[in-house]
């Protein structure tokens, strides 16, 4: 049943470009890549229960890795020797691999400890990586970032980019779904439900947390790399806190630990931010000039959702329907 709905949705996505204007096709394609970022965050946070506040580190690392592989001159500043330009496919995969490697090192250091520690350290990490961009301007291009050139785009046409983005997204989401439905995924969930209990039945909790973190960072890197090949510019916004909050908002609205939920959450929030909200606001501001912008509305949403449903909309709804069922059956 679920599978049928998803096949229909993918088919809908495949024919959508024939019915909507090209400018929106471009945004729709980017929203697919944003889905990868949100779902990969969910693999770590929703399945193992370890709150990663530094997911954008891996998005950014993936993006800058791919961008540098397309800009031999900048890469030479960093490494001291030249590497010939690689095909786009390889640069996207390399983005994922480098991000996963960094995830591995951060994971083995920070995931040994329980509780606050992981969330705290990951909250600082994006700021460290963002500073590298400002310190080594010649390599990373500073605040403005740099362009990798039109010829390194995913495709020459917007339509082509759109379909490649769709394919990348479907492959990534299916792979992550496969992982969390496997034996390994069960162990992730055991850690989330009760870390000490999981340990007592012989699960090496640190090992599986690190595995989840590597998976999560690998796909975040792929997402980041794909995004820069889509929009052909790389800039520090991919490391920044607003992107992190957008990912959190999408996952929380969609429902943590479900994969499907974050797909919808990401899709809706991304389009809301980049398409609907801007139009609504520009109309609103014509009538009443109040100091508000689209980001502020999203932050307000996050605050309201957070306060009313601190465990996320999905869990809250499930709980309520369960209570409703129970009260019905008792009558």
């Amino acid at each position: 049943m679920k599978a049928a709905i998803y096949v229909i949705l993918v088919v809908l996505a495949a024919i959508a470009p024939f019915f909507i204007p090209e400018a929106f096709v471009y945004i729709l394609g980017l929203s697919f890549l944003f889905i990868i970022l949100v779902v990969s965050w969910d693999v770590m946070v929703g399945y193992t229960g370890q709150v990663n506040l530094g997911h954008t580190v891996f998005v950014g690392v993936g993006a800058y890795t791919a961008a540098l592989l397309q800009s031999p001159v900048r890469l030479q500043h960093l490494l001291g020797f030249t590497i010939p330009k690689v095909p786009i496919f390889i640069s996207i995969i390399s983005g994922g691999i480098i991000a996963a490697l960094i995830g591995f090192f951060i994971g083995i250091i920070t995931l040994r400890l329980k509780g606050y520690y992981f969330a705290l350290v990951t909250a600082i990490l994006p700021l460290v990586f963002m500073q590298t961009v400002f310190v080594w301007r010649k390599v990373f291009g500073g605040e403005e970032g740099f362009s990798i050139g039109l010829e390194n785009s995913l495709s020459n046409t917007i339509l082509g980019k759109y379909y490649i983005a769709l394919i990348i997204m479907v492959i990534c989401v299916l792979s992550m779904l496969f992982i969390v439905k496997s034996q390994i995924g069960l162990k992730f969930k055991a850690i989330r439900e009760d870390e000490e209990l999981a340990e007592s039945i012989g699960i090496d909790t640190t090992k599986y947390k690190v595995i989840a973190f590597i998976v999560s960072s690998f796909f975040a890197g792929i997402g980041g790399a794909a995004i820069i090949h889509y929009r052909i510019t790389v800039s520090p916004d991919l490391y920044d806190i607003p992107l992190m909050l957008l990912i959190i908002l999408s996952a929380v609205i969609g429902g943590l630990g479900t994969i499907y939920g974050p797909v919808f959450g990401a899709f809706i929030i991304y389009l809301a931010k980049n398409w609907w909200l801007k139009e609504i606001l520009s109309n609103l501001l014509k009538i009443a000039p109040i100091p508000i912008n689209d980001d502020m509305i999203l932050y307000l949403m996050l605050i309201v959702v957070g306060i009313l449903m601190p465990q996320g909309i999905y869990v809250e709804l499930k709980k309520r329907s369960w209570i409703a069922k129970k009260s019905n059956s008792s009558i």
Binding site: V51, L53, I109, L113, G115, Y116, Y117, A119, L120, V121, A123, I124, L125, L127, V128, Q131, T132, F134, V135, I241, P242, L245, I248, V252, P291, I292, N293, D295, M296, Y299, L300, L302, I303, G306, I307, P310, Q311
Partner: protein, 286 residues
């Protein structure tokens, strides 16, 4: 050479004093209520902007605006706590996410109203002192004195007064404190008020020495946050010592490597300390 060392010692002390105020406020509310208030840096800039508006737009006297600015963020802090933090107190991570969202919301609001250029609060005192061949403005000296005096007062308040002892009791064991008849919710509000005015005081001192922009709120948060985990979560003395470590790391880096390296080096230092000693310098095991 001696002059350079002296300069680093003097300037580092001023910067460290201000960050010690901000960080001790952040640490205080965490220690007592187990809340990581990521909107702490927002309180820091809000006091400065409120004070500047009072002086420039309404024409309030400097000293009065200084005090009103501090009280204003105290009240804002209490309102934020009551409306947003208190209902979700038990979901620690949601508190982080919600307060971070508040911080970015206020930052955007300030950017829309005041723009991104830096503004300064008019100095409470003018003039320059010459200490061993180093010129230092009086306001910097005053800031250091205010910071040290406030920290001593805070220490006195926490350890000697009845309310202070109730705060300590709550931080040590919330349930036991409740059983002893302490109104824990009231203690949280008092602690939040103190924590906020410490941030506000830091912000008003900072804006007399450096230019304040809405983006400084994130910077203040990072500094406070980094200092507090370096000192050990919940340890007030740890955060004061850590602010001097961070303050001097920054001043030394700026002197020898340049300003753009300062945050990078500071964060790297903190992360390397955390790798070796995850609980921070004076942290207690949970």
């Amino acid at each position: 050479m001696i002059e350079l060392v002296l300069k680093i010692i003097v300037f580092g002390a001023v910067v460290s004093g201000i960050w010690a105020l901000v960080a001790s406020g952040f640490s205080l509310i965490f220690g007592v209520a187990r809340i990581l208030n990521f909107a702490h840096g927002t309180l820091f800039v809000l006091s400065a902007y409120f004070g500047i508006v009072l002086v420039k737009n309404i024409g309030v006297n400097n000293y009065l605006a200084f005090i009103l600015g501090i009280l204003f963020v105290g009240i804002v802090g209490v309102i934020v706590f009551k409306l947003t933090i208190s209902p979700i107190k038990t979901h620690e991570v949601m508190v982080v996410i919600v307060t971070l969202a508040i911080a970015l919301l206020v930052e955007q609001f300030l950017l829309l109203i005041f723009g991104e250029h830096g503004i300064s609060f008019p100095s409470l005192v003018g003039g320059i002192q010459n200490i061993g061949g180093i010129k230092i403005t009086n306001i910097r000296i005053l800031s250091l004195i205010i910071a040290i005096a406030t920290l001593i007062l805070l220490e006195f308040f926490i350890t000697k007064t009845k309310t202070g002892k109730m705060i300590t009791a709550t931080s040590q064991d919330m349930e036991a404190a409740m059983l002893m008849g302490i109104d824990v919710d009231r203690i949280y509000l008092i602690t939040m008020f103190i924590s906020s005015i410490l941030a506000g005081l830091g912000g008003l001192l900072y804006s007399q020495i450096f230019a304040t922009t809405p983006i400084v709120s994130v910077k203040a948060l990072i500094y406070a946050f980094a200092i507090v985990i370096l000192g050990g979560l919940g340890s007030l003395r740890g955060s004061i010592i850590a602010s001097f470590i961070v303050g001097y790391v920054i001043v030394v880096t700026i002197t020898f490597l340049g300003a753009r390296w300062s945050e990078f080096v500071m964060l790297l230092t903190i992360i390397s300390i955390l790798v070796v000693k995850p609980t921070g310098l004076f942290g207690v095991e949970e």
